[in-house]
Symmetry: C2
Subunit: 220 residues, 2 copies
């Protein structure tokens, strides 16, 4: 497949971070188009970006003429279009397991702690900062408790979430752990998760995707 | 693939409802194992069920010895294991579009309105019933606004979300619309969505999956 790749991204968005890892694991070059989620009232709400993604959320990946939305759908597209190295296992049962791990985070943890949700809690429901932070820690904590059990109790778990090569579930887990640390959670309570996180951090593809390494991130 | 199918389900869970539609579209027979999300303090929290799914959420699909979790992962598994009729299009771009539509609901609308989230708003944050209902309507409303634009502005939309046969995005959209009506939202504001909903309702597979038709649903 030919066509230039452009990622509409924000350095601290964990959904964009997932896609950055996937692109790096595939060794794909892409242009970054920063969308600042706070400046200008949120650049994701500007007309030009809303036309690209009516959900007014990052990431969006443009591949030639194709406009791709939703981080998990984008990762599957990347995996289908550039099959090596594979982000999903070859068997249907393994694929179901990896997708379920990814969705346990992407559906049941991350959306609850998204910027727009925290803004609604603050602005519409008058929830103060400490209670908002407790909210975030509650959903991350209970979500990671479940993910830890899913990983610890399954022979499919290897050096990474599934087997001994990084894949789609790792692309989703690692950004969530970045958020967990940001909100003061200690990964020591989830030993399998902490071990996988360390294995990922040692890989150049994961290092290249971290928020602080992005062109729109804070300068050190 | 051989093996008995058992669906752990709750009549009003929209995630379970998605899988019921998928199974019905494939013409697959399955046993229903009801998990009452309110009785007994929530049967999904009982030890036997938590061992099956540490997330303590329905649905779970058992296929022989395989235990499958997360509704979107289950639908993909069903589609890979019993390919006809297909729930996903044949091209990578089409698959990405269908998955993004499904995830726009399954990641960005439904998890915010889940029972456990509404319970947290009530019990931990003292949010009263009218404000909880406004919360639900806000996330469903803004989510469907975006989905309507994604459908109306794309030549891929046909009689259903993608083309002229029902697929994975329809399996996810229809249960969300059931919820929208339950919370008093009028679909007339989303004409493409309302048209697709009516096309789905006319099909026996969708009729068989509605909450009120389930063995654990309320008797008429």
């Amino acid at each position: 497949m030919s066509g230039q790749l452009t990622l509409y991204t924000y350095w601290r968005s964990s959904a964009a971070y997932r896609v950055r890892i996937g692109l790096a694991l595939k060794g794909l070059e892409y242009a970054s188009e920063p969308v600042h989620l706070v400046q200008d009232g949120g650049q994701q709400h500007a007309a030009a970006f809303a036309a690209l993604n009516p959900q007014e959320l990052v990431p969006v990946l443009r591949h030639g003429d194709q406009v791709l939305r939703q981080s998990l759908a984008i990762l599957e597209y990347i995996d289908e279009t550039w099959p090596k190295p594979a982000l999903l296992p070859a068997d249907a049962g393994g694929r179901a397991r990896v997708r379920a791990l990814a969705q346990a985070i992407a559906c049941d943890v991350h959306p609850l702690n998204n910027l727009r949700v925290l803004q609604y809690l603050e602005r519409e429901l008058d929830v103060a900062a400490p209670a908002r932070e407790a909210w975030v820690r509650h959903w991350i904590g209970s979500g990671l408790d479940a993910v830890e059990k899913l990983l610890a109790g399954d022979p499919g778990t290897g050096a990474f979430c599934h087997g001994d090569a990084p894949g789609l579930a790792d692309c989703v887990l690692v950004p969530q752990l970045y958020n967990a640390r940001r909100f003061g959670l200690d990964l020591a309570g989830w030993p399998v998760i902490a071990r996988i996180d360390a294995a990922c951090a040692a890989l150049p593809a994961f290092a290249a995707a971290v928020p602080e390494a992005q062109p729109d991130g804070p300068r050190s």
